[in-house]
């Protein structure tokens, strides 16, 4: 009986994640399942994540963008492209990724500050990022001219498979990749 109960909770959570287009936060899961104790919910989430880890599934639940979301497993990418007649997904331009990194690590930040960090005027790039909703305007800076200030959005996290800003590449990771690049060029 207890077993049935457990799997039911897991199933409910699975159904909830499935209907979410945006990552389903633990907070919202708890709100829906208010009558269940926290530990049981946590356990059910763990079990659910576990249930996709074997080779028996084409889809999975991932933890990114501050919540849980269904996606296909990466190894089936080529088949999906066949089905959807898509040759490749559009990537962000290098200017866009660079501006995003600048914003991600220095937020909240103004256009002038982004441009200074990159050494190039970034207004065009910022516009693209706003339209893609990867960044958002969050207010104005209290300084002369009161420029608008920007932050990365939830969608930014999901786009890069990050769960929170704490998951951004660390200084160690960055130094490592810079070193690798240097070695590679030698």
């Amino acid at each position: 009986m207890a077993k049935l109960m457990d799997s039911k909770l897991k199933n409910i959570i699975e159904a909830l994640i499935f209907v979410s287009i945006e990552p389903l936060t633990e907070e919202n899961i708890r709100k829906v399942l208010e009558e269940f104790p926290q530990e049981e919910i946590d356990k059910a989430i763990r079990e659910l994540l576990q249930s996709f880890s074997d080779n028996e599934k084409g889809i999975q639940v991932t933890n990114s963008g501050g919540g849980y979301l269904f996606s296909t497993k990466p190894e089936y990418d080529s088949w999906i492209k066949r089905l959807l007649h898509i040759e490749r997904k559009n990537k962000l331009s290098s200017a866009a990724i660079e501006a995003l990194s600048a914003i991600a690590y220095h937020q909240p930040i103004t256009l002038a500050e982004i441009s200074a960090l990159r050494g190039v005027d970034s207004s065009h790039t910022l516009k693209t990022l706003l339209q893609k909703k990867l960044i958002k305007i969050v207010g104005r800076k209290k300084c002369p001219g009161k420029p608008l200030i920007y932050r990365t959005s939830e969608k930014f996290l999901t786009y890069f498979g990050l769960n929170s800003l704490n998951d951004l590449p660390t200084q160690e990771e960055i130094s490592k990749i810079l070193e690798e690049e240097n070695n590679f060029e030698k």
Partner: protein, 243 residues
């Protein structure tokens, strides 16, 4: 995808002067903290020279950096009294380069993550179970708010004619309402009455109701003098019409 290719061809692959500078430094395997300014400036200028046509407006940042390099070089060449604690003129540039280098490194990692995420396909629409439900939900930022407003204004500017949707009002109901008002007050101030209407649609429906009443001669609209308030009165016919 960034649409403007022109933006990307700026000095081939370099995202900006810092990018180019970093490349030159890396190429010579120099420690970023001790940039031989003379050499680097020379290389930088040579690079710019090789680019036959520099669009001043678009490549202004590259020229600005050239000017900055020359300035630093000149300051380092000028004999000056040794002052302890005086900042190395290269310092601000070194700081910018280091910051920029970190951004480049993070960008490379994010690019890898983008590649990985692109292999995982997500659904873009709600599953069919939920069809029919009003699920027009969006995350809102200040930008969305401002954009909503200014596009609203634009839409209105370009619309002489527009289709009005929303709550429905019936002409019959409005006729009843007008007659009730008239019986209470014996006359109705035309403009006042329309100001009370909560939406354009409601106002239009009321107007049609009034027209109907005037047509059937149940009420009469009177403007006593030009530019004065139009008043609506019940006519004798009202009582006949009622029966």
């Amino acid at each position: 995808m960034e649409s403007t290719d022109s933006y990307k061809v700026r000095l081939e692959v370099f995202e900006g002067p810092l990018d180019l500078l970093l490349y030159l430094i890396k190429k010579q395997k120099i420690d970023i903290h001790h940039i031989p300014i003379a050499t680097v400036t020379k290389e930088y200028l040579e690079y710019l020279n090789k680019k036959k046509r520099i669009n001043i407006n678009r490549e202004a940042e590259f020229l600005f950096m050239a000017a900055l390099l020359i300035y630093i070089k000149s300051r380092m060449l000028l004999p000056r009294e040794k002052v302890i604690n005086e900042e190395d003129p290269r310092q601000p540039l070194v700081h910018r380069l280091l910051d920029y280098q970190n951004i480049k490194g993070a960008s490379a990692i994010l690019r890898k993550k983008e590649d990985e995420e692109h292999l995982k396909w997500k659904r873009t629409s709600q599953p069919p179970l939920l069809k029919g439900e009003d699920l027009e939900l969006e995350e809102v930022s200040l930008f969305d708010l401002a954009e909503a407003f200014f596009s609203l204004m634009k839409r209105r500017e370009s619309q002489d004619f527009r289709i009005i949707k929303g709550k429905e009002f019936s002409v019959e109901e409005k006729i009843k309402e007008i007659l009730t008002e008239l019986k209470k007050n014996s006359f109705l101030d035309f403009l006042d009455y329309f100001y009370q209407q909560e939406s354009l649609e409601e106002a239009l429906v009321s107007f049609f109701g009034l027209l109907e009443l005037i047509k059937t001669k149940v009420v009469v609209a009177v403007q006593e003098q030009l530019f004065q308030a139009i008043k609506v009165w019940l006519t004798k016919d009202y009582y006949a019409w009622q029966n």
